[in-house]
Subunit: 252 residues, 2 copies
């Protein structure tokens, strides 16, 4: 454009050139306080358009597109549709949790160890809260059905769905189950905004402890234990010790 | 900038203004063929820098930043560090799979039903392949250890890690286990590029079937079945029917 007319140059300013070489800003991206109630409602509103992961991420970050603008305006949020129903319907990780974890890292995380550790601690707290809490604890302004609550006992889509189906005496592909998941996106978005708000004020502390049972399992199987043959913070009991199974005999 | 001098306007062109109001292009983003071997090596190379989800996503998409440029240059890829060790260390969904699923949706997916269904079918095929295949089947140019293979039987981080620990007689926080996960990122990135290549040529077809056992489970518990009380395509046997458990008695 060197040597172009002033009129031509003005057009460039009016219609910004594609940011061809522009890298995104480093993490964390700028934060402004988010209205938790609005985030929850927005997550619910977007569930039927793009599934659970997209909806929860959009609930948390949508307000920032207005209040902060760029770089949030540049993010391809529809990518997060991939997490629907535990990622592409595989029913692994709950999409509400997957979307919230992505949003937490974008807004509060970063490659520096102290930022990464903060985002990870917030994410783990969210996941454990989700496992142990009677959900959904959010109700939208207008809803398709009344929805009963259940404790998932697991961050996994299919386990969370199955436990709710049992509590509600409903089927896993019913419209009631879809509505329950839409409410759940609202619950997870609201909780996440509360965690972000606490972190922004410098006051985030984990609020939920692993179950006593899971701590016992970890003492023999997790980091720096005698066996050290697994890892993580999922509640063990949900899959490993149902009423049909017991622990193998311990050699004490 | 209207009325600014030509010199000033030229500066704007040389240093593009922040894309404050610019929305990202719709999905799918432009695709150019990716070198699968280079993608695998790049995924391995990035594992120690940002964890499994980041590494796998970067392995698949890094070449596109050069060959396509924008919009890939604008994507905040470090956000995907959130998926490390099954999301923030919770050991739920394998980060290599989480990162690959995100990349597939960005490159081959979209909000239109036919694009979404294609990306979902590719993702499900990748997940089932991961569950059933002796991995890692990629070996980097230079490696820290020799790594034995194992069948994960699950798309979950902690199950995949535990099954490998058993096969390798190694601990879950050992440097050998980390190296195994770095190789695994290479395997998943390479497989994903092969799926993207097939889809770009219009020839993607699912190549891996659910286990016979899982199909049997689904016939009573999944979509349109008598009970319809769960969903998904995770292999059931990995958690539900180990050598310690059996199915409750069927009323036939």
């Amino acid at each position: 454009m060197v040597g172009a007319s002033l009129a031509g140059a003005t057009q460039v300013v009016a219609q910004p050139a594609p940011a061809a070489a522009q890298s995104p800003p480093e993490l964390p991206w700028p934060y402004k306080p988010i209205d938790a109630a609005k985030a929850a409602q927005a997550a619910y509103d977007h569930y039927y358009a793009g599934g659970c992961m997209f909806a929860t991420f959009e609930g948390i970050t949508g307000e920032l597109r207005q209040s902060v603008g760029y770089p949030y305006t540049s993010f391809p949020r529809y990518m997060l549709m991939y997490g629907e129903a535990g990622v592409a319907g595989t029913a692994t990780l709950c999409g509400a949790l997957n979307g919230a974890a992505a949003a937490i890292f974008l807004i509060a995380g970063g490659i520096r160890p102290e930022r990464k550790e903060l985002a990870f601690a917030m994410t783990r707290d969210l996941f454990t809260w989700y496992e142990q809490t009677d959900l959904p604890d959010f109700e939208p302004e207008v809803s398709l059905f009344d929805i009963v609550k259940s404790v998932s006992g697991s961050p996994l889509c299919h386990a969370s769905v199955s436990n709710w189906c049992k509590a509600a005496n409903a089927k896993s592909y019913s419209p009631e189950r879809a509505e329950r998941c839409a409410w759940l996106c609202g619950s997870v978005a609201r909780r996440t905004v509360q965690l972000l708000d606490a972190a922004a004020k410098g006051g985030f502390k984990p609020t939920v402890a692993l179950s006593a049972e899971t701590q016992t399992c970890g003492s023999c199987h997790d980091h720096k234990s005698a066996r050290e043959d697994t890892r993580g913070s999922m509640d063990c009991g949900g899959c490993h010790f149902t009423n049909q199974t017991t622990h193998s005999k311990l050699k004490l």
